[in-house]
Amino acid sequence: MDKIEKILMKGTDAIGEAAIQAGCKCYFGYPITPQNEIPEYMSRRMEEVGGVFLQGESEIASINMVLGAAASGARAMTSSSSPGISLKQEGLSFLASLELPAVIVNINRGGPGLGNIAPSQGDYYQATRGGGHGDYRMPVYAPASVQELYDITMKCFDIADLYRSPVMILGDGMMGQIVEPVILHGREDIELPPKDYILDGAAGRPSRIVKSLILDVRLMEEHNWKLKRKYDLMKRDLPLHEEFMTEDAKMIVVAYGTAARIAKGAVKRVRANGFQVGLIRPITLWPFPDEAILNLTKKAKLVLVFEMSTGQMIDDVRLATRGKIDCEFYGRPGGVVAAPQEISRIIERHWLQWELS
């Protein structure tokens, strides 16, 4: 795609189109609200570009279809929402151990259990702690605009190939449904490692095995350390964040995704009232932008974490700030979307309580 065009696009469609432009050849998924527009978009577009779209009989089947396609060398993805992502955890653990690249989208909804279909950030722990069984991690991106959904989805396919790892995009119902202008662009050509692990029939080469069963404990330990070294590289190279009005900030709000959009509005409001408040928005939730947060909070006096949950990312903020600064928390779980006024009131209340003036 050479021509640069700006069009109005829905979040879910931006994810789908970015995947197509990134060379995603196979999409497998199962319907669940609020992400059905992704499989619907892919069912239409994959036919046009000669890719594979298949609606699996379950989320479990879909993630395993992704696994098969990834092991065959194809760029593959799946998408779902919270309860469906729980079902995919077995497959995620296998993808991590088998070191197969894949992109997994979670349009987070209210929970636990069936919950509801409203925007939520209750899956932070599940996403950033691996989620499935075993000692693994995976990069998790939390875009906060339709443009970022497009850019990050495209980037995730390269990250997956570079590190041979599943990569998750964590959105929420708001991110999926929002309609914004997007500049569509093609994929930047970057150098990727050769796919020397794929199974396509052992023609003219020795046969290959893709497996995670390692019965010898010493070899399993070696495999765990090998993965750890890879995760260390990710921690060094992948953290991404955005700062907003942080230069002189005495209070730093930390929020991601939709919550960060709301918090940004709130920061603008309190700034107008003379409060020196800034926002830091982690774009990668794992690896977490520890260093940026630590540096930023050196000059500040208070951190306020705002999440659409009862408080999950706050643990990572506390780890990042190493107890050097007080962290307050405000959460709206269950699918409630707070208005910026509500957050600006909370900010001002903490400002006064902590006597930051």
Partner: protein, 245 residues
């Protein structure tokens, strides 16, 4: 001197770990012989199960992708959709195929997925130590049906092959046994037919192979083969249930 019997090229020179009298080694050999004879080693991909045959990749000298328990047909679907000109087969046990993987199996068959499933039925969970399988026969004692399988408590033996034969997506469905040399040869013939029909692209192909498990049946290999032929083949009649080729 002319060699009349050799190891198939598609089998690695590794001794099987399977128990004495187990059917897996026979079935492995049949599959490897066929891959050689049909000259498809360079385009075939195997998806072994979680189960006794999880280590099939130690024996088959072909591209092999491990699967989580029961997910073989979904993984095979991913491969086949991405690489439609390759030959893809799952190798699954009864628990893998007909309990934890029932949904993946039935739906792959119903989609007419152009893959082959080799379903080794020995009526028990072998690798985990002889627990009750979906295919365990009524009255059969296992470590989790110590009083013998009772229909009122544990339900009935599941004949998934018969179910799949009803599906329009299934192109070839057969049940064979390895109880006698003649039946072993019939098994090879059925496997060949399944691969041929897969290559023709006609739909899902399935060969269920009844196979002895003397270790978990707690009988000698000789008695196990007798049980296989006299008891198991009665519960699971042999035959070709469907062949649209």
């Amino acid at each position: 001197m002319k060699k009349v019997f050799t190891r198939p090229k598609s089998l690695k020179p590794a001794p099987f770990h399977y128990c004495p009298g187990c059917g897996h080694s026979i079935i492995h050999r049949l599959v490897a012989e066929l891959i050689d004879e049909m000259d498809i080693r360079g385009k075939i991909i195997c998806i072994p199960p979680a189960g006794c045959a999880v280590l099939a990749y130690n024996y088959f000298d072909i591209d092999t992708c491990e699967s989580a328990h029961g997910r073989g047909c979904a993984i095979a679907t991913g491969f086949k959709r991405a690489l439609p000109d390759r030959i893809v087969f799952t190798y699954q046990g009864d628990g893998d195929m007909a309990a934890i993987g029932t949904a993946e199996t039935i739906h792959a068959a119903n989609r007419g997925e152009i893959i082959t499933s080799i379903f080794v039925n020995n009526a028990v969970y072998g690798m985990t130590g002889g627990q009750m399988a979906p295919t365990t026969m009524l009255g059969q004692k296992t470590t989790t049906s110590p009083y013998g399988r009772r229909s009122k408590v544990e339900g009935y033996p599941l004949k998934i092959t018969d179910l799949i034969a009803q599906l329009p997506g299934a192109a070839y469905v057969a049940r064979t046994s390895v109880a006698t040399p003649a039946k072993v040869m019939a098994t090879k013939k059925a496997l060949k037919r399944a691969f041929e029909i897969q290559i023709s692209g006609l739909g899902y192909t399935l060969v269920e192979v009844l196979s002895p498990c003397p270790t978990n049946w707690k009988v000698s290999p000789k008695e196990a083969f007798k049980f296989l032929e006299e008891i198991m083949e009665k519960e699971y009649p042999l035959g070709v249930f469907k062949d649209i080729g």
